[in-house]
């Protein structure tokens, strides 16, 4: 693909984005990383391992989609990891109380949405900076999850529950990957093709102009953080299902991974631009990197160094290409 095509719009390039071309940079980066690992390790490029990577990355993808919405409005959500824990333990407790899998899951995800909406309220109605509001929720959520469980694992959950977090369809494709793809398509559609999506961009691009154009800033903000909470709740439920056990400590520190994935995927930290496809690529860059370095048996400390370097280099290459 030559540089001259940069002005050619790819037309209706699916649900993800009008100009899929924008994502080619980070996608190339992903391919290069994958290629290097395919050569240097025996096992990277096997169906089994690739599915494993997809499964491992699906959770961070979902959280990164949440952050994408938030960061496009020029916010940040530090509470996804904690909300995830709250939803997970709520789901576990409800299952133990005998509410059945569908009902428990739904309620737990809604609890996540509620936590997110509270973030949104604090930000839009009380005027608290997103960093502080969600930092507060990060602490509160973790505390609540600990209080609910007394910090003991919630175990003895029905074995059927495992399907959501670790089951496979057609004997091979992990359920979380399917969930992630469906969610990604839905949220890409919402972002690009609905009024709400446009409001999200407008809010992040110029809040004053958006307000004066009749955008309901308050509802949009609450909506965005509620979406983030719902997705976190979903991930919480899925992680609990994968382990058939819910922990108050689940998802500690995942917020940084999720935010990093979005930004590596081209979401502007200043707000106003970003795509779901880019974010997913960003999450996979991180996921493939971790997996590949593990397969290479790189010492854990050198892995930390390598990951830091590759993240910066990947973003830099993408930057160069966009120029």
């Amino acid at each position: 693909m030559s540089v001259e095509t940069s002005k050619v719009s790819f037309g209706k390039a699916g649900l993800f984005n009008k100009k899929i071309y924008n994502e080619l940079g980070s996608f190339t980066g992903l391919l290069i990383i994958g290629f290097v690992f395919s050569i240097t390790t025996d096992n990277f490029f096997t169906v089994n391992n690739l599915l494993t990577v997809a499964l491992q990355t699906a959770y961070i993808c979902l959280l990164a989609i949440a952050e994408t919405y938030v960061i496009i409005t020029s916010g940040i959500d530090l509470s996804v990891g904690s909300i995830l824990a709250v939803s997970g333990v709520v789901c576990g407790k409800l299952l133990l109380a005998g509410f059945g899998i569908p009902l428990s899951m739904l309620a737990a995800i809604l609890v996540g949405g509620l936590c997110g909406a509270i973030n949104g309220l604090a930000i839009s109605r009380m005027g608290i900076a997103p960093f502080i509001a969600t930092l507060g929720m990060m602490s509160i959520g973790r505390g609540v999850a600990n209080v609910i469980t007394d910090s003991l694992p919630v175990s003895g959950l029905p074995e059927d529950f495992f399907f959501i977090g670790g089951g496979t369809v057609l004997g091979i494709i992990p359920v979380p990957v399917i969930i992630m793809l469906l969610v990604a398509m839905l949220f890409a559609f919402i972002l690009n093709r609905t009024a709400f999506g446009k409001y999200v961009f407008a809010l992040g691009s110029n809040e004053d102009a958006a307000r004066l154009s009749g955008v309901n800033i308050g509802m949009t903000t609450i909506g965005v953080y509620a979406v983030s909470g719902l997705l976190s709740g979903l991930v919480g439920v899925m992680l609990a299902a994968r382990l058939v056990s819910a922990q108050a400590q689940a998802g500690l520190g995942y917020e940084l991974d999720a935010i990093a994935a979005s930004i590596i995927g081209g979401v502007s930290p200043m707000g106003g631009s970003g795509t779901i496809l880019g974010t997913i690529i960003g999450a996979f860059i991180m996921g493939v990197l971790r997996n590949g370095l593990n397969l290479l048996n790189v010492n854990a400390f050198w892995q930390q160094i390598a990951i830091g370097v590759v993240i910066i280099v990947a973003v830099y290459i993408d930057k160069l290409r966009r120029k």
Binding site: T52, Q56, Q247, G253, N294, N297
Partner: protein
């Protein structure tokens, strides 16, 4: 931790087919404790001529999901065997069972796993060890006093067990009052601050039990800063920072585990299994209670310096 990388990197292609490769997956490679495990494993690996790699989630001991991923990676690499220190007793069960089903034997070290399909389980009995610590403290206090517990992370299996063992021992003494457990998230500075606050809030405090290395050091330093030898500290684990604290008397006693044994015996057990020999299912790797009084005894010295005195 550099040798393991080099070793596997250059020998991998040459004799991948013949040599046996074992994955040792621990909770955190950054911990002194697991470094001793590795030291034991090194020796056993040399003795038996197997190869191994040593890994753990970079996100830390609470990253259960990360550890699951590491096991998955080991399975897709088709290693000969997995030695694991599980971050969670139940959560790691499905994936380890998957490994066993794929013909990869699993040896569990340090932290238990709620399945019986593993080959062998080698560990310190945390409950018994902490209980022993509690008993010896109760003796020092003459069965009377006010005691604080500072623990490393809420919800970690080891943390739960040690707290339980200690509290079980205390429960036998009605005149001993135990305060709310506080957590320092494996940060020595936080353990230090926490201790200062506990001492301020409870001027009449008699003793503190710290549940692992960072905590034992943090509490000890806090006492040393105030030159406080009145409050009795009982710790868990050993390190170069802990030993002087015992010598100086700020730390009255500490439970020393035998991580070296876990690594050494763990690899041995795995090799036996791979060679088709019988393996003991549950092995206690033991612990030693080192106190200011007994620290010069050979037994204590061996516990304090498993890698040899430098």
């Amino acid at each position: 931790g550099k040798s393991d990388t080099a070793k596997t990197a250059d020998s991998k292609n040459a004799d991948a087919g013949t040599k046996k490769r074992i994955a040792i997956i621990v909770k955190g490679t950054e911990n002194v404790f697991y470094q001793s495990v590795k030291a034991g494993a090194d020796v056993a690996a040399k003795e038996t001529g197997v190869e191994y790699y040593f890994t753990g989630s970079s996100a830390g001991e609470t990253d259960i999901n990360g550890q699951v991923s590491l096991v998955e990676n080991a399975i897709s690499q088709k290693v000969s065997g997995i030695i694991i220190a599980a971050s969670d007793a139940k959560a790691l069960v499905p994936i380890t069972e998957k490994a066993i089903a794929a013909g990869i034997p699993v040896v569990v070290i340090d932290s238990g796993l709620q399945t019986d399909k593993y080959t062998s389980f080698l560990t310190t009995d945390n409950v018994a060890a902490a209980s022993a610590a509690g008993e010896s403290l109760a003796k020092m206090l003459n069965g009377k006093g006010k005691v604080a517990i500072v623990n490393f992370v809420a919800g970690a299996q080891g943390a739960i067990e040690r707290e339980k063992g200690f509290k079980d021992a205390m429960a036998k003494y009605p005149d001993i009052q135990v305060l709310q457990t506080q957590y320092y998230n494996n940060d020595k500075q936080k353990a230090l601050s926490l201790t200062q606050d506990i001492l301020t809030a409870n001027p009449d405090l008699d003793a503190i039990f710290a549940c692992n290395e960072p905590g034992t050091v943090g509490v000890g330093r806090a006492l040393k800063e105030k030159n406080n030898k009145k409050v009795i500290e009982i710790g868990f684990d050993s390190s170069d920072d802990i030993i002087p604290l015992i010598k100086e008397g700020y730390l009255k006693g500490t439970i020393v585990q035998m991580p070296y044994n876990m690594g050494y015996l763990g690899v041995k057990a795995m090799v036996d299994k791979l060679n088709g020999k019988e393996v003991v299912k549950n092995q206690d790797t033991g612990f030693t209670l080192v106190t200011t009084e007994n620290m010069e005894s050979p037994e204590s010295q061996k516990a304090l310096y498993p890698l040899g005195k430098k």
